[in-house]
């Protein structure tokens, strides 16, 4: 009777993080963008202002990075506040 050899193989992959990106537009007031970032993410005013200035000066800013479900939630929230927002896999 032949022996039976059983092999098991396990692999674990890290989930790919997603970026939430706010894009610049000429309509939304700078103070409003700061206000929304503070309200949604709980950022303090200093951090929210830095991100807002990135949006204003660089055209866009990654305002949050993390798991996909949360990224989708935050993107939906930011769009509900009428900010131009996208999400994409982090490089």
């Amino acid at each position: 009777m032949a022996d039976t050899l059983t092999q098991t193989h396990e692999s674990t992959e890290l989930a790919v993080p997603w970026n939430v990106i706010v894009h610049d537009d000429p309509v939304n007031l700078m103070g409003y963008v700061t206000f929304v970032l503070m309200r949604i993410f709980g950022y303090d005013e200093k951090k929210a202002t830095v991100l807002m200035m990135q949006v204003h000066q660089l055209g866009k800013s990654v305002v949050w990075t993390g798991e996909r479900e949360k990224a989708e939630f935050y993107t939906q929230q930011l769009q509900a506040y009428q900010l131009k927002t996208t999400l994409e896999k982090a490089a």
């Binding site: 007031l29 939906q76 769009q79 009428q82």
Partner: protein, 157 residues
């Protein structure tokens, strides 16, 4: 039109004549003036293949309903206040709880104007080069911006 802050943290907007009511009604007209609705303009920016389909099916209709509800609320507020004053001098009250809905309606109007006329940053616009139609839209956008600034600084924070 004169605007004052109330003791309850809202705004009192005093209309001086019928033209002031027309300015407020312009918010609703401007918000609806873009061929593509705001929810679609925002939602269609999400193009990552893993999420784009869900966005179209679930998120865009949800955003659309939210934005429409804000406009309907503001429309009802204007209509009720205008009726109360028979379209002449009289107040319109914006409570603290209503602050964001008004901000949203004004933003929808300004985003639609921008989408149609592409003014860019207001400080870079030369009013002398605008047509009659675009000049009117630009002035309305400036009025809406001033009201938004008051809402943000005095009501929403």
């Amino acid at each position: 039109m004169k605007i004052m802050q109330t003791l309850e943290g809202g705004l009192r907007v005093d209309m001086e004549d019928g033209d002031d009511w027309k300015i407020l009604l312009g918010i609703l007209r401007d918000a609806a003036s873009c061929d593509v609705k705001l929810a679609d303009r925002l939602g269609n920016m999400v193009t990552a293949e893993e999420v784009a389909e869900d966005w179209k099916e679930f998120i865009i209709p949800d955003l659309d309903a939210t934005f429409d509800a804000d406009l309907a609320h503001v429309s009802n507020s204007i209509s009720a206040a205008r009726m109360e004053s028979a379209g002449g001098p009289g107040p319109l009250w914006i409570s603290k709880d209503d602050g964001f809905r008004w901000y949203s309606a004004l933003n929808q109007a300004r985003l639609a104007i921008e989408d149609k006329f592409h003014f860019g940053p207001s400080e870079e616009v030369d009013p002398a080069k605008l047509t009659t139609e675009s000049s009117g839209a630009f002035l309305r956008s400036l009025i809406y911006t001033n009201l938004q600034s008051l809402l943000l600084d005095r009501v929403m924070r």
